[in-house]
Homo-oligomer: 110 residues x 2
């Protein structure tokens, strides 16, 4: 469980991989399409793809000589839920409540 979050967050920590994810949320893409905007060699892109697949964020299938990649959004929302749960916990804490109220006050001042 935690191990899964490790890999998900680690995968998202790299700008090249986030760029790949940003492309894939629009729809499936080939390896070359993913590589297009990235300033690196194809083998390097393959390694990033492997990291994303290992994290379960992306799956791919090879048909003929083309590998088509698509996003796997469950791991994405797993990460989202972890973060939002912590933010909510913080909002329910005294520390967070105070900061929230202060924030609301300065918001009004605007």
């Amino acid at each position: 469980m935690n191990h899964s979050l490790d890999k998900t967050f680690a995968a998202l920590a790299d700008p090249a991989r986030r760029t790949m994810v940003e492309r894939l949320v629009i729809g499936p893409a080939t390896v070359s399409e993913l590589a297009l905007p990235l300033p690196m060699s194809l083998p390097a892109v393959m390694l990033h793809l492997k990291v994303l697949e290992d994290a379960g964020l992306v799956t791919s299938r090879k048909e003929g000589r083309v590998r088509t990649c698509r996003i796997e959004p469950e791991k994405l929302s797993l990460a989202e839920r972890w973060v939002s749960a912590r933010r909510i916990m913080w909002e329910n804490s005294l520390d967070g409540l105070k900061a929230y109220l202060d924030g609301a006050k300065t918001e009004k001042k605007k």
Copy 2:
């Protein structure tokens, strides 16, 4: 901007650091308190704390001989927003729409 996300996600990719964050959303804590559940030396915890501070997820202040750490939730919600924006994009894509409808169907079957 992207650089900030790099550090935030990288910081969250480590279980020790997530444990520290989980402690801090409850309220401020000292370095020793953060170290208590972690299976490592104090200097190691300091390094993790440095990573969290570098990412802007945590701030700390030393009073006397005690360093008190507290969470800084803005970076947390920055990461949250990046992920949720991508999930929403995916849901609006044909790929995501299809998967969503399929999901709703299997959900009904239950």
